[in-house]
Amino acid sequence: MTKSKDFWRRYSRNRGAVVGLGLIWVVILVALLAPLLYPDSPWRMVQRPFLPPFAVDGFWFGTDTLGRDIGSGLAHGARVSLVIGLVSTVVALLIGVPIGAAAGYFGGRWDDALMRFTEFFQTIPSFALAIVLVAILEPSLGSIVLAIAIVGWPPVARLVRGEFLSLRSREYVQAAVLSGQTSGAIIFKQILPNTLSPVIVLASLMVATAILLESSLSFLGLGDPNVMSWGYMIGAARTVLRQAWWMSVFPGLAILLTVLALNLIGEGLNDALNPRLAREGR
């Protein structure tokens, strides 16, 4: 119990991180309540087109070129952003952690081969690769998640490899080797639990990056055509920027605040989980 209290004490010392946590709760709440707040499909025309914000009661965010409610799009878009952010991060971890762990633990040729592979993926411009993948697989939630995960795993692999490499030669791991424990036991009991903190911090930042990437893809028209997303809304607003600023301003702010919140949380987690690494700079 004292451990979680301790964690929270260190986390909450970073005021930005607390703000971030509050923001992300708002986004989660909006995403969960979207079907209640806006029971209609966000694609339905509900008012006259080009309705400016606050002009009509209940349409605080205005409408778009086809008279669709921007507010409804924002609420439903939150679900897509969060789901894609989370799922693609999980998939990226599932690829990156085993690769990094194997490279760091077994070392030698395994390390060489796996790290060449990782570097290769890191060299390819990730956004271009994501575009190509989604374009070829046809845009859908599945292909977007896959593309984001494929461009997102290399940093995980590098981080986990580095941690494994340094922990592998740590004396308590060598003691475990000498006590006759199997490689499996050593990896899962001795090393992996000690790599969790930096991986958790990285994961929180990856969710943020994934949300940015998803919005960029749907901005270019590579979103899942069946779901409303913030990036799509901005993409649709691009050509009418001069006439209807609100169509692009609100979804953009939504992305900005969500990603900002996640980055702040990442910093807070870093302070709380790696107390020795936390720099004095405050």
């Binding site: 004396e171 060598q174 080797v177 000498l178 006759g180 001795q190 000690n194």
Partner: protein, 549 residues
């Protein structure tokens, strides 16, 4: 004291930030240095000796500040100086050198430029003169090939050479006072001897006062004129080296000096010569690193043709300086490394040929005790699981392993409640005891201790050494004791093997190796150990302290 002191510290108190484990880093410290005098400040970790030195240099971290007392030099109280005035003073009136020569130099700047920078900082000389002066300083501190050393980057020099470069930098403006903060702690014993000699020589030639911070009483005896003993931020005793080391009066000083291991081995034990349990023959290990299409691989022969035997209940010491291959040999013996060639015979079984599952099952017979008490225990596991997971992996029932863990934790001198706690709740010495219990839990026949007491303070060191000797006798273990510290080796080892550059150059009974060394390297090594020369007050002090405590 006939001369006016160079610097006088009076009742200095330095406050620690709130939330630290004590209120003051240093409390009511007074000391002074006469010109040309070497004053040693000695104490264990946390005694406040480094804080005192940094306060005299105006280099305390922001959150640690002096709250009372004065530091007087040339009629000024240094504690009232502005940052500008400190800058003028540092490097010209007081210079400082540090413990870690590997990190104390800027890795991206040439040695000559780093020295010339001292002149530049104080607006002295033209840039051409600065370079010339840097060269002559490098010559003075005895760096080989000065012309090349001026243009070298730090990574091209060894640890001892870097410390010489640091000294050259400190000498540049001929300061009246040199503060040396554990300047030889990170160095090998022969390099340490050279640096100590250099400092004694410079003091003689330049008449510079030296404040020498150290934890090593041997170094104090070697170089000091007077000594200040500190504990928990307070001065417990000060006086001439002969008085304090030879006739310590404070109980703490007495305890410390009694714990200092002497260079002379105790009388040999009476042991029945058992048949050897472990025989190592022609062990070789070579490391290759790097190497690719465009670069050559670096090849280091770490262990060459190492051969020895050890019996039950015996302690074999393997001593050597860094890079001698002693640790690599140890790691080959416990099979953390695979030797390239050579035979390791463990009671008739070929231990070096085992691999895979067979090796895993046999591992319990040979265990290791590690150097770093902070890295040798998994921070996320309680002591109970640390002590039981090895036996459980070897098929021992959990309850039985736990019962044994309870027994062992008492045996190594800890309370049974320790089992329920995490490693970070223990001190360094206590952690080392847990590490020993972990090795014992496997019921080993051979125990390899790799620098097992090197990271500990001297009083704790003596206790852990005693514990090691005790368990060796109780369980009739063969103990291979790897260390760089000849004094420690003398206390516990029955036989000694001296290694240099991967080879054993001399091996024999401890009293023979120490009393009548055959190989020139062993002689040099023994000669380099500070503080135990003729008329050393330490030997006398140990007797006095031993009798008092």
């Amino acid at each position: 004291m006939s001369q006016e002191p160079v610097i006088t510290v009076k009742d200095l108190t330095v406050a620690l930030p709130r939330g630290a484990d004590r209120e003051h880093a240093v409390e009511g410290v007074s000391l002074s240095l006469a010109p040309g005098e070497v004053l040693c400040v000695v104490g264990e970790s946390g005694s406040g000796k480094s804080v005192t030195a940094n306060a005299m240099m105006g280099l305390l971290p922001k959150e640690v500040r002096p709250v009372a007392g004065t530091i007087e030099m040339d009629g000024r109280n240094l504690l009232t100086l502005s940052e500008r005035e400190w800058q003028d003073l540092r490097g010209s009136d007081i210079a400082m050198i540090f413990q870690e020569p590997m990190t104390a130099l800027n890795p991206l700047q040439r040695i000559g430029d780093q020295i010339a920078e001292v002149f530049e900082a104080h607006g002295a000389l033209s840039s051409k003169e600065r370079q010339a002066k840097a060269l002559s300083l490098i010559e003075e501190v005895g760096l080989p090939d000065p012309e090349k050393a001026v243009r070298a980057y730090p990574f091209e020099l060894s640890g001892g050479q870097r410390q010489r470069a640091m000294i050259a930098m400190a000498l540049a403006l001929e300061p009246k006072l040199l503060i040396a903060d554990e300047p030889t702690t990170a160095l090998d014993v022969t390099t340490q001897a050279q640096i100590l000699e250099l400092m004694a020589d410079l003091r003689r030639r330049r008449g510079m006062a030296i404040l020498f911070i150290t934890h090593d009483f041997g170094v104090v005896a070697e170089i000091g004129d007077r000594v200040v003993v500190m504990r928990y931020g307070e001065v417990v005793e000060q006086g001439t080296v002969g008085d304090v080391l030879g006739r310590p009066t404070h109980p703490y000083t007495q305890r410390l000096i009694a714990a200092v291991p002497p260079l002379t081995p105790p009388p040999p034990r009476n042991r029945n010569d058992d048949a050897p349990i472990l025989t190592v023959e022609g062990l070789n290990k070579t490391f290759r690193s790097g190497g690719g299409l465009f670069s050559k691989a670096r090849v280091v022969k770490a262990v060459t043709d190492v051969t020895f035997k050890i019996g039950r209940g015996e302690t074999l010491g393997i001593v050597g300086e860094s890079g001698s291959g002693k640790s690599t040999a140890g790691r080959c013996i416990v099979r953390l490394l695979d030797p390239d060639s050579g035979a390791i015979d463990l009671l008739g079984e070929d231990w070096s040929a085992k691999s895979g599952a067979a090796l895993r099952q046999a591992r319990k017979r040979v265990q290791m005790i590690f150097q770093d008490p902070y890295a040798s225990l998994n921070p996320r596991r309680k002591v109970a699981s640390i002590l039981t997971e090895g036996p459980v992996a070897n098929g021992v029932a959990r309850e039985k392993a736990l019962a044994r863990a309870q027994e062992l934790i008492g045996l190594v001198g800890l309370d049974p409640s320790a089992l329920d706690r995490f490693p970070h709740e223990f001190s360094g010495g206590q952690r080392q005891r847990i590490g020993i219990a972990r090795a014992l839990a496997m019921d080993p026949e051979v125990l390899v201790a790799d620098e097992a007491v090197s990271a500990l303070d001297v009083s704790v060191q003596a206790q852990v050494l005693e514990l090691l000797a005790d368990i060796r006798d109780r369980f009739h273990l063969a103990l291979i004791f790897i260390t760089h510290d000849l004094c420690v080796a003398a206390q516990i080892c029955d036989r000694i093997a001296v290694m240099r550059r991967g080879e054993i150059v001399e091996m024999g009974p401890t009293e023979a190796v120490f009393g009548n060394p055959q190989h020139s390297y062993t002689q040099a090594l023994l000669g380099a150990v500070p503080g135990w020369g003729e008329n050393s007050p330490l030997a006398e002090g140990r007797r006095v302290a031993g009798a008092a405590s």
